[in-house]
Assembly symmetry: C2
Homo-oligomer: 235 residues x 2
């Protein structure tokens, strides 16, 4: 049996909020693996000095170290082909890469700036300062300025989801009748938002909502078991 350890961002109260890490978590569960996790702070990455770089998620499989969520998915698929497939073959892998690019390059830049201010409440002060500085430099605005544009920004974000919505009106998952890695890529964004913010980034009647519920239910409720910010706020 593989000895798998996932190094990922950890916030206050041990919240595991990294969207990229959630791609890997769902991929590991899809392959039926039990795995350990090690939280890493944004501002203190000594825990991952073994990897000779400073990015998470990192998957350690015995002595093997794999960095980058997409490469981890490919590694798992290629190393454990006898387990449930993440891509459903070569064509599915090619198209999952397109979904990865769509989420990373279209959806994330629209959503992250709107919600990033909320992240400061679930990380400690040094991590918050580190995140603020990185995001404010990337977007050339303060987190407060970006949060102030939330309403218009969410309209834009929801508009960009239009092809996702059309797809999920026709089938249960992005990958068809059953979920696979491309679903986890997309879901990771909603899971991140769910963990860090009390704002629901989808309208209640959005056709994507039932899919998000199905994703939260997968693997015995793996993703749902991570506390949602909104539920806490309501409690």
């Amino acid at each position: 049996m593989a000895n798998l350890i996932l190094y990922e961002l950890g916030g206050l109260d041990d919240r595991r909020y990294s969207q990229f890490s959630w791609r890997t978590r769902m991929a590991l569960a899809h392959k039926g693996f039990a795995f350990e996790t090690v939280p890493v702070r944004v501002s203190d990455k000594t825990a991952i000095s073994f990897s000779n770089q400073d990015k998470v998620p990192i998957l350690k499989d015995g002595e093997r170290v794999v960095i980058d969520s997409w490469k981890i998915a490919e590694y798992l698929e290629d190393t454990y082909p006898e387990r449930a497939s993440l891509f459903g073959g070569k064509t599915g892998r090619g198209l999952a890469r397109f979904v990865n690019a769509f989420v990373d390059r279209v959806l994330i830049p629209k959503l992250v700036p709107l919600v990033m201010l909320d992240v400061l409440a679930i990380v400690d002060a040094p991590d918050g300062a580190h995140l603020r500085s990185g995001i404010e430099k990337a977007f050339r605005k303060t987190l407060e300025e970006m949060a102030a544009q939330r309403e218009a920004g969410l309209t834009d974000f929801r508009g960009a989801l239009d092809p996702v919505r059309a797809t999920l009106r026709a089938q249960s998952f992005l990958c068809g009748d059953a979920p696979a890695y491309a679903d986890y890529i997309l879901f990771s964004l909603f899971q991140w938002a769910r963990i860090v913010s009390s704002v629901d980034v989808l309208a209640p009647d959005d056709a994507i909502v039932p899919w998000r519920e199905r994703m939260l239910d997968l693997f015995g409720g793996l993703a749902r078991s991570q506390a949602a910010r909104s539920l806490e706020a309501a409690a």
Copy 2:
């Protein structure tokens, strides 16, 4: 052997310019089928009255009539599973549907209005009047107004191709190492633009250009054999 007939839009000099039809043409070639084609005019669809509706492409396979490019692709895959796969399995089919939605709902609305005025030169007057009326009603602008916004519009269109570009920097086709139906969906838009307009909708150094060349080369240059407007203009 199947007796396949494709009913599709035909313009002046027998130009076959429908992008949806090109999806089917490439799919048929992918499956290794020879097929007949029947041109249909936008303003006179008596040729397809047998189908009890007015949309092309239509695939006739013996007595079976299949309408809608996506449904035709699914029909071909399900009816001829022993031939080269269009989807590469269930996951690939699910994700191809997402690409279909992305092209139809994100890319087409950005590109078609910019180039539609050019289409009038490759169809006869009644077809031109029919196309003008339909598109002007849909976009609430004249074709001339839309063509005047071409420069800014092309910048926006090229921007929307960003996730495609990132994918094609990492692999030869949208579907990975080899082309499949999702590539044909995307290609159909460029093939349409190539046939109807002398404007290149991609910048010469765009990373998508080499992929478009590979697509034009497929199946003995099937798509390239359809005269390009730009080549004629240069001749």
